[in-house]
Each structure stands twice: as structure tokens, then as C-alpha cells.
Symmetry: C2
Amino acid sequence: MCLHMLTIYLGHMKLYSLAAALANITVTNHEVTYDPDTSWLKFHLGINRYALYSRDDPTVLQLIKDMQSMTVISAVVKPSGHHLKLALKMRNLAKAMFKPMRQQRDEETPEDVFYFVDLQRHNAEIAAFHLDRILDFRRVPPVVGRLVNITSEVLKVTQNEDLRAVFFTSPANNTCFFAKCLYVCKTEYAACGSPDLLEGSLSAYLPGLSIAPRISIPSPWIRSYTFTGREEWEVNPFYCDTIKQQYPYNSGNRLLNIIDMSIFDFLIGNMDRHHYEIFTKFGDEGFLLHLDNARGFGKHAKDEMSILSPLSQCCMIKQSTLLRLQLLAQSEFRLSDVMRESLQEDSLRPILTEPHLLALDRRLHKVLRVVHQYLPKESTERICK
Amino acid sequence: MCLHMLTIYLGHMKLYSLAAALANITVTNHEVTYDPDTSWLKFHLGINRYALYSRDDPTVLQLIKDMQSMTVISAVVKPSGHHLKLALKMRNLAKAMFKPMRQQRDEETPEDVFYFVDLQRHNAEIAAFHLDRILDFRRVPPVVGRLVNITSEVLKVTQNEDLRAVFFTSPANNTCFFAKCLYVCKTEYAACGSPDLLEGSLSAYLPGLSIAPRISIPSPWIRSYTFTGREEWEVNPFYCDTIKQQYPYNSGNRLLNIIDMSIFDFLIGNMDRHHYEIFTKFGDEGFLLHLDNARGFGKHAKDEMSILSPLSQCCMIKQSTLLRLQLLAQSEFRLSDVMRESLQEDSLRPILTEPHLLALDRRLHKVLRVVHQYLPKESTERICK
């Protein structure tokens, strides 16, 4: 059965070598039994060169339901600076990344905090998945909110010593855990339950890198991760002309995909998109994954126009993206309304405060203003200057 | 003149060897000129085996005034984990430690935060000096609040490269600085001006260690700096019986001084007194310095009775301390009223919120309740059991 499923998997995704995939399944087969009809496997099988899932794929609904309800069988704390992440394994090879709540919904990023030291917000991770789906990109792996009992559901089910080492009881008798210590253990970064219940986001894992390799590519519009540095795109208004000449941005849809990503990031207010990932086996035409969106939705009152630089400097946009944005600017399908309704499905609702929802409408209009400013009416999906 | 002053200094304090002191003065003399009539030198000369300053010493008033107004001539960032401290030098060998504001007056320590990772509060440092003076201990070096322009008064006056390396401009265009990086620079710990003005506490430096050596001794009631550990004093109700047998607590006033310190710490709510310091040259009878009080005043609603363990386990108290506490429990000299009035002198007033001031009265009554519970009426300054 394993091999049968594997053949389908291989045939469908055309992502990997049989040997590598077999090696992977052999190892996991010793440890767990799995049902080929699982939502994870079906999700992985459904990934294609255009998107992570198709528009009306029932698998995603099942995956969301499973992530909300499946029993955790083991947990691993991921080393990640001071960010808190737990990789949770469920039955049938199901796996999700848990990011705990770090701040209240109405707390905003302090004005003096740089984008690269901002906290990660579990609700931003959830909201970004919904927005990506509403924009019809389908480049964010499914994310759900879940109230987890970190003692009985996480700590007690795992024998992992690394994990046990980061759990502690706070002075208020709440169960807490902190990031895997790279240098010094920082309990001030801990996330704490009340006393054991802690809400967080669960993001569905993609197929393992040995099965479906991905590469991480620096964004051409990467920011300077220093206090004073400026990147070329910030000072050269003709920067895109250079990029347009360079591989892989000189042909195909890669640059248009970068512009899609910049619109997505502008809407969520994410300044921290230093790299993007693609599945290698789809080649240069594959879609861009929109992973790690937890630094979005930090400041509802701030529209960071520099995030839109790929759009405003290259002045091109996919027709399908533009049409979707125009649709969501209409009063019948107002983005904030669609988002509000979509986010109501999540068990941790409300996911976003009203000011953050309304900011989406304001930002959407700003995107369209940029488009109309630079693009002649008839010009879509091509360079306008 | 140097040698003349030095001789007086030596004769008065009897703290050091002539050679060491001469070496110290020779070095500093190359760099600065100083006036022997400065408040710092007079403060240092006034230190004796009983206290840092005498009750009505006009030097302290002058020192406070000088700390508030003197021009900074250089600054050094002190490595201190993630705590932010700048050593500021003024003319005439004047030196003070600057601790910047990290949280608002009405912010409380979150309930899940351990005492050893709590932020340091500049206003707690200021308030602790006033309380120590009101309690007639005079074991805290003078502290004042000051609004400092960290750009013009600190950054621009110093050529120190280490200092420049920790200054940066925040996304909101405020001038900020972070702690000297031991491992990774953590801008999320930064303190920021508005845009350059930042309030903080200035604590007067004690004489240098080469002139007046001090030793740091672990408190017998030290806490376990781990998540789960318990120290013997926490589980053994007869712990003090053991301590009373041990040098240096088996004679003289050292144990009574420890008890004074525990009362002081209980009143300010400081659980972080792991060590205490004494001037070595005063011998075993010298007073205990109450340094580093910035983790006090974190939770106005919490009275941490374990801090009083030295008092409740040893059941002894100095008569002078008890009389002072009883005085401050009377309505004419209510501790909160005396503190409120005293703190009004500071330029950063209000230093403490009303709930923190009122907590002092409540805690004072709890101290007296412990005293009356364990001590027979006539028994002071001696062991009661």
C-alpha cells in the first residue's frame, strides 16, 4: 500500500526521485502506521505548479478540521532565535507548526521596534492564510487557530528531552515554555498557558524537503537588516529596469509573482519578506510560497508604501490579480467583509480587530491607486513603460 | 593638593593602602582636574562603618543637585546581560550610573515573569534611595531622576566606539540604545528617547574598588535561580538556627543587618537580593550596602512574605529599626505620606503611583505583625527563642 500510494504521489507531483521518496517512507514506516486517505497526504498530492491547492478542494477543509481536532503524538521544539515554535506530529504523518499567542489582539507593534525584531503573531499567521485564499493565490499552507493544553496535549505525550528542558512553571503557576536556547535561555520570551491552555496557530507542513525540495531565494527587494543600511531599490527609482534584465526575472512570470507577493505583504503590513521559496521541481514557472506571515498585522494605522515597491517600480501586474483586487474593492465583495466572514470560521475568532480589517480596505484602494497611476487602462500583464 | 586630599581621605576612611590609592589618583590626574571640594569626594569621605552618609549631611543634597545638573563629559556602556546601564562621567571625578526608563509608572511585572528576568525600573532605583533614607538606614548611594538628551548629552560628548555601536535610530526616528552585545544584539531590549530625551535614574558611584575594596557575599537567604529549585531556607523552618552558628552570623550585628535588608526588600518587593556587599576595611561590623534596587516596585498588589524569612525565621530585629518602623506606622508619620513628600523632591515626579505608595503602609504593618507574633514585647536586639 505504501508503494502504491507513493507511486501515485510520485506520478502526481513529479517532484522527486523514487529512491529519495522510498528512503523517506521506509524510515517513517518503522515508526508510524498511516492511512493513505489522510488529509495531509491528499493536500501534498494536490500541490501543483500553480498553487498549493485548488479553488474548491475539499481536502483543505478536511485538513483544517483535522488540525483543529487531531491528537498530538509528539512535539519538537524548533530552534529559532527567540521565536517560539513547536513542530507537532499527529497520526498518519500529519504534522503542523504551532506558534503560540505572544500578544493580545489589540496590542500593536511599538513604534520603535524594527520589522526584524517584531514578535510573531499567531493571529497574523491565521489571517494571512485566509487573505491569501480570498485573493485566490493559494500560496499559504492551511493555518488554523487552536486552543492547546500544553501540558496534557504536548508535554505529557512526548519523551523528547529537548522539549522537557524548555518547559517550566511560572511564578503564577502557569505552564510555560521558551525558545530552544541558542546562547542563554530567555524565560522573558516565554509563552505561558492559563494555567495550561494556550492558543496558537497551526500551519500544515509541506512535504518533506527530501520528497519535494524547495529553495529559498533572496527577494530582489530585500531590506537592509541593519539599523542604517539602505538597499539599492530604496534609492534607485530605476532599480526594476536592472532586475528585469536578470535571470530569472527576465522571462516568464517570476517578476509578476514577486509583485503578487508584494501586494499580499502590503495588505498584511509585512516588511520581513527577505526570502521567498519555490518548489525546485516545478522549475522557474512554479508559484512562490508565501510562508511565515506572523509579522503581519502589527500596525493597523500604518500603510508601509515601500512594501509595494515591486509594483510601483516595475509597473506591471497579473490580469487575474488585478481583476480579483477590483472585485474585492466593490461594496458587494468588500475585502474586509469577506475576510471577517472567512475568519469567523476559525475557532479562535475574532482573529483580527476591526481596525485591522478596515485597514485591508484602505490598503487595497492604495494598491489600486498605484496600479492606475502607473498602468494605462488597457495594460495588464505587461510592462507599462 | 592631591596628596593632601588623599591623606585626609585615607585618614578618614581607613579603607585602603596608600600605594593603591596613589596609583589610582595618578592615573586619573592625567586626564582630569578636580576640585577637592566636590560633592563626590565629600560623599566618599563621609562614608563610615555605620552608613554611607550621616543623617543631616549637606553633602548628599549637593550631590543630588550635582547629579541633576552636571554636564556629562563621557559615557561608557556597561555590559550587563540585557540590562541597559551607562556609566556617566562628569567633571571633578564625578561619576554616576544611568539606568533608562523601561516601562511606564503604571505598568506592573507580568505574573508569569520570574524575579530574575524582570526589567529594571529606574523609578524603583530612585524610590529605594528615598525609602532607605526614611528608614534611617542610609545604605543606598544617592539616586536622582534626570531627563537626559541621549544624543547631545551622551552620544556627542563621547568618542567611545563601544558606545556608538549600541546607538541607533528607530523606525519612528527616535534615538535608542541597547545593551552591549554579549552574544547577539537585541534591539528589542532597546531604550528609546522621544526623540532624544529619555528619563532615567542616576546613582552616585562609590569610591573605586582599588581605593575602597568591597566584597560581594551570597545572601544566606539566596533564592534558587532555576525554575524548580528550592533552597534550604524555603523548606527548613529551623534554617536560621544553623545560620546563627556560622561565621560571620554567629556574632556581632551581621545577622541583624541581614534582617534590616530583608525588611527593606520586603517593603520594596525585591526578590532579587542574591548577594550583598560590604566595604572590606570596616571589617565584620561594617554596614551592608543596599545596591541595585531596580527590581523593586514591580507588583503593588503582591506582598511576597518569603522576603521576610530572615526576620520570621530568626525572630530578631534591631531596636533602632523597630522603633523607626513603629514611628512610620503612626498616622502623623505614615510611611506613604513621608515617601510621597520625599519623592516630590525628584524632578521626575511622580516616582511611584499611589497603589505602590499605599502598599508600603500595608507591608509595614505586615512587618510589625511578624515582629509582634514572634517577639515578646520586651525583646528587641536579641534572639527571642
